[in-house]
Symmetry: C2
Subunit: 341 residues, 2 copies
Amino acid sequence: MAEKSPSSRSPDAPRPTIYDVATRAGVSKSLVSLVLRGSSNVSAERRTAVETAIAELGYRPSQAAAALAGNRTGTIGVIIDDYRNLWFVDFLHGMQEVLAERGIRVAVADRSFNSHVDASPLEGFLAMRVDGIVVASEPSDEMGRGIGVPAVLAGNRLQQIPGADIATSDDRFGGGLAANHLLGLGHRKIGHVTGGGGSARERCEGFREALRNAGVVPVIVGDGGTSEQDGFRFTRQLLLTHPGITAVFAANDSMAMGAAAAIKDAGLQVPRDVSLIGYDNSPLASSNLLRLTTVDAVNGEVGRRAAKALLARFDGGQQDTVINLVEPQLVVRGSTAEARE
Amino acid sequence: MAEKSPSSRSPDAPRPTIYDVATRAGVSKSLVSLVLRGSSNVSAERRTAVETAIAELGYRPSQAAAALAGNRTGTIGVIIDDYRNLWFVDFLHGMQEVLAERGIRVAVADRSFNSHVDASPLEGFLAMRVDGIVVASEPSDEMGRGIGVPAVLAGNRLQQIPGADIATSDDRFGGGLAANHLLGLGHRKIGHVTGGGGSARERCEGFREALRNAGVVPVIVGDGGTSEQDGFRFTRQLLLTHPGITAVFAANDSMAMGAAAAIKDAGLQVPRDVSLIGYDNSPLASSNLLRLTTVDAVNGEVGRRAAKALLARFDGGQQDTVINLVEPQLVVRGSTAEARE
DNA sequence: GTGAAAGCGCTAACAC
DNA sequence: GTGTTAGCGCTTTCAC
């Protein structure tokens, strides 16, 4: 009998099941299940027999069947705002780092994701029976009454979700970091281009407060938008109405890029005439074109904390919700300099 | 008896099943199943009864059970290279547009996704029993022998996957577009900063060919990298070794951003001294800082084609693989100008 | 139109 | 240690 390689299995042959593996290995199906789930109560011999059979058959356990029988999917759902907001990338890696030990999968959905099928990403995940949810976006109204499964809210602490833990970078602290950096360079006439979300508000608050302690009142502009275009528009306005400004803090790196354009268009130079500081430490910030001083939210750590909080709920079910605050870090590059005169 | 709102269901009460819905609506479970799947063979009366019961109970069908019983998940998996390569965003939207009519879900995974649990994103999707796969990245070795389910390869046509259709933007044509634009502006001394992947190679080929037809031979640099840093590094080198160059074509907008930095550092101006053209029409290109002339791959349309190809395989199972080529479009902004002298 | 019944491929008690 | 036995919550013939 010819050895059949897994990939040579004819396309419409039924997939091998745990039954087939058991037969081929000469054991029972529950023994196969045990091997699959890494039980220690299996003799080495039989274990290898099973593993060989699995390999020969090209067997892949059905997640659907496992989820149905086991009453858990081993997957947690992450709801993000927009794929273009890249902060979730580091966040996700942080999560995976700690989820690795438990073999838990992650599924990601943005707001418009599968909107043609599910009422919302949350609905989609709940139908999927995820074991937990991470809301890495502004919470939606439907979350107001809580989520039926363990949940943590990430990247935001202005809003709340009943019963959900929180893991976030301390944006308020980060705003202070930016302020103190500019202050330390001697700046006194300072503008801030802010955005709409909870993070932007926190950053703004922290920034204002730190400046206030030094007796400085910044000029603040913005109408909610957080794009490069918004940064451009408002910085231009800022420069027009307050020509004496020597430093600008943008609520994120994209807006800082827009600010850089406005500064350039005004015939000024960064950092000679105007110091510029962003937030996020995105690839934009490290680009050679901007070499932007910025604040790093350390999102990998935020992801680690979020995952740990979720695992704690899986295990223990502690009652009171905990707030994990991660301390951001200033990253100094070439876009800030001492104030002149 | 008090009306129980769905969300007031106590956290560890068992989820309502199709059984509970049937009982409450006074029908059989198969009738509920029919309503769920939108069958027309149900009287309006009973349909409303079922719908009411569903709403009252806060019932959500279990995808796991449906997948197991129905032998299909109604989900297709999309494998991308890296979340930071944003071309997949428009691509995904295009896919969803056509998948909407069929109520099919999409799941996304990047290369490192769940790497702690699955051997590869492909493995993960196969274990999940997706109904189809879209490979929106360079195919990996494991795909060399084909994928067990309907598949389409997107964004690439240099490599192949046995049995998989192809949907991609015509990168070669796009390269020609860039070349002809520069040629039309009178440029003759032209540099090209290229990258490693299949797309970059195609763009390069199309670019070279169009220039050759005009008797122009470009200076080509690059070593595989495609980041802003790579664009910076190689453009600097280009400018050093070939000071007479009046135009640069970068294989993507990120590299073009790096190129812009190098040009600026060399004391030159875009577009006065050097015209610059990118590829992708990313947010970078439309930024006020770059105002970059670029080539739009029209990825939304590529996504639509990919989804259609997959649906065709679901339905018909045509045998020969088809190649869908979408024609890119030139987007002229402020970074290109007539050659001087 | 509607209901009954037989699984889908697993996991988890439990008995051996 | 290993095998047996029930289901998990659906879809889907097939009768009625």
